[in-house]
């Protein structure tokens, strides 16, 4: 009986988190269009609803009613499965993100590694999507995309090891708490090199400009998504945005202090302790989301060989050097 | 309460499936896959024993097994690529000539 109550509570909490996340994702697309529109001297969506606020729902309805085509040569089961793998793995990694103190669905001891594990499963979605479509563009796009994602996964993992070293834990809640007494209340100051590496890899992991080669229309049509249409395409799109949120949340939690305020701020202004942590968390996440859009509006796309060279020849050595230096400093100077 | 022997028997079953495949399939990729199954079977046994003995040694060993498996697969598949250039096949029976 007790077990059933726990399960029911968890289901409700998970459903609430999913609902709020999906709403955020819907408005992230709106936010993105508005931001990029303004940056390019346009005004973005205005037609649907007040100032275009209903635009995301119009898009959703459109993709739901759009005819969906499965190519005759496709491997139908895998074609169906690919978006499910991507969406399920991305949504499961939401489970370990603490939105406020102990606010994660599951406060795991291996928190960050769990997100890595789920991210490595998302690669299968990409490969399976490309392979099952049985089309040249899809197939080649998926292989490229997978090569890109796995290359940057390493730089990401090694740069985060610096944070684990500083915090002495891989639990996201502990990492946030460990940052309170750091300069400015965040690891981004002392781990600035790891932070930069992680941010660049986050762009590559989520296939965002300037690393959005998988979707480079000029080269490979739409990459592994070429044969996907209608709501299946929408699911991939959704997964991309949720993973943007997860990357933004990871950056906020591991480098920018998460939901906690720095120790010196709360000592000077104790009343700020009353503000719920989720507010600080969301401010940081949205600041990073804005950065995503800003970069998209500003930077051109890299070539594929440049992209691989950045990952392998710059980011990985830099992150290894960073962790070695961090280790030496921590051993003998702290 | 599950006795340790259940885990060991599960590992044994997985190991034998892998071993039989390794012995009867001709495709090299399939043989490498079955090698992975056998290593996983050993890992299950190691971790189970380690858990029941409340000791970390088995888990450390399993960790090393994973690293070794990764290295082994990388080399095995590289050999397959090199062999494939000459024979255009992944069939074990084709590689019976000892010359490049």
């Amino acid at each position: 009986m007790e077990l059933l109550v726990t399960i029911a509570k968890t289901v409700l909490y998970v459903a609430a988190v999913f609902g709020v996340t999906l709403l955020h994702v819907a408005y992230a697309t709106y936010f993105e269009r508005k931001v990029i529109g303004r940056m390019q001297g346009r005004i973005g969506p205005v037609e649907v609803g007040f100032r275009g606020l209903l635009q995301p729902f119009a898009d959703m309805v459109k993709s739901l009613f759009k005819e969906d085509i499965i190519p005759a040569a496709a491997d139908r089961t895998l074609f169906f499965l690919a978006p499910v793998i991507v969406v399920a793995s991305v949504m499961t990694s939401l489970a370990v993100i603490p939105f406020f103190n102990n606010g994660a669905i599951a406060n795991l001891n291996v928190g960050v590694l769990f997100i890595f594990a789920m991210a490595s499963l998302a690669v299968y979605g990409i490969i399976v999507a490309g392979w099952s479509s049985n089309s040249k563009y899809s197939f080649f796009g998926s292989i490229r995309s997978a090569a890109q994602v796995i290359s940057y996964e390493i730089a990401m993992g090694i740069s985060l090891a610096g944070v684990f070293l500083m915090a002495g834990s891989v639990n996201l809640n502990d990492i946030v708490l460990a940052q309170r007494e750091q300069p400015l209340g965040m690891f981004a100051v002392l781990q600035i090199v790891g932070f930069v590496v992680f941010v660049i890899s986050a762009f590559a992991e989520t296939n965002r400009t300037p690393f959005d080669l998988p979707e480079a229309e000029t080269e490979l049509v739409a990459g592994y998504l070429t044969e996907y249409s209608g709501f299946r395409y929408a699911l991939f799109f959704l997964a991309e945005y949720i993973s943007m949120y997860i990357m933004a949340a990871l950056i906020a939690l591991c480098y920018l202090g998460g939901w906690a305020l720095p120790g010196f701020v709360t000592r000077a202004l104790p009343f700020l302790e009353q503000v719920p942590g989720i507010i600080w968390f969301l401010i940081k996440v949205y600041a990073f989301m804005f950065f995503y859009f800003w970069v998209r509006a500003t930077l051109p796309r890299y070539r594929f060989d440049q992209l691989m060279a950045i990952g392998w020849k710059i980011l990985i050595p830099v992150s290894v050097v960073n962790i070695v230096i961090t280790a030496f400093v921590k051993r003998w100077l702290m | 309460m599950i006795p340790l022997s259940w885990y060991l028997m599960l590992g044994a079953g997985l190991f034998v499936i892998g071993m039989f495949t390794f012995l009867v399939r001709r495709n090299i990729i399939m043989m490498l896959i079955s090698l992975e199954l056998m290593l996983n079977a050993v890992n299950i046994m190691l971790i189970a024993t380690s858990h029941y003995m409340q000791d970390m040694r088995g888990q450390i060993l399993a960790f090393f097994v994973m690293a070794g498996a990764a290295a082994g697969v990388a080399i095995g598949l590289a050999i397959l690529i090199a062999a494939f250039r000459n024979r255009e096949s992944a069939n074990m029976d084709e590689f019976d000539l000892l010359k490049g």
Partner: protein
């Protein structure tokens, strides 16, 4: 007691996984019910910029993708060894500390060799 341990903190993760999968499958099924369906042969053929598809779709690709994959495996294992080292940093002695530096140095030699051989191009 060993033999009756249940990782209860993973129950919420399992529920999240189930709900996430249900969401994805449900969305696809809902789309299936709502949208029109008028297939014909040209529409179902593979997109190739409007041309009739030519050649083998699942063509072989460059061996360098395999080399990237192989390097990825090695570096992944290396990163995986870094995590327990980083987390247990306060508890490990001087020998453990220098062993990781030595480990990274060996990997570095292999990495430089690969760079020299042009595997990273």
């Amino acid at each position: 007691m060993p033999g009756s341990y249940i990782p209860s903190e993973y129950l919420p993760v399992f529920i999240t996984l189930v709900l996430g999968t249900c969401f994805a499958v449900g969305a696809l099924v809902l789309g299936e019910l709502l949208r029109p369906r008028r297939p014909y042969a040209e529409k179902l053929s593979i997109y190739e910029s409007g041309n009739i598809p030519v050649g083998e779709p699942r063509t072989r690709f460059d061996v360098r993708f395999y080399v990237i994959g192989m390097l990825f495996v090695v570096f992944d294992v290396e990163a995986v060894f870094l995590y327990p080292w980083a987390v247990a940093f306060g508890n490990i002695g001087l020998l453990g500390f220098w062993s990781m530096i030595f480990f990274l140095a060996i990997i570095l030699v292999g990495y430089l060799y690969d760079w020299k051989k042009g595997a990273l191009e």
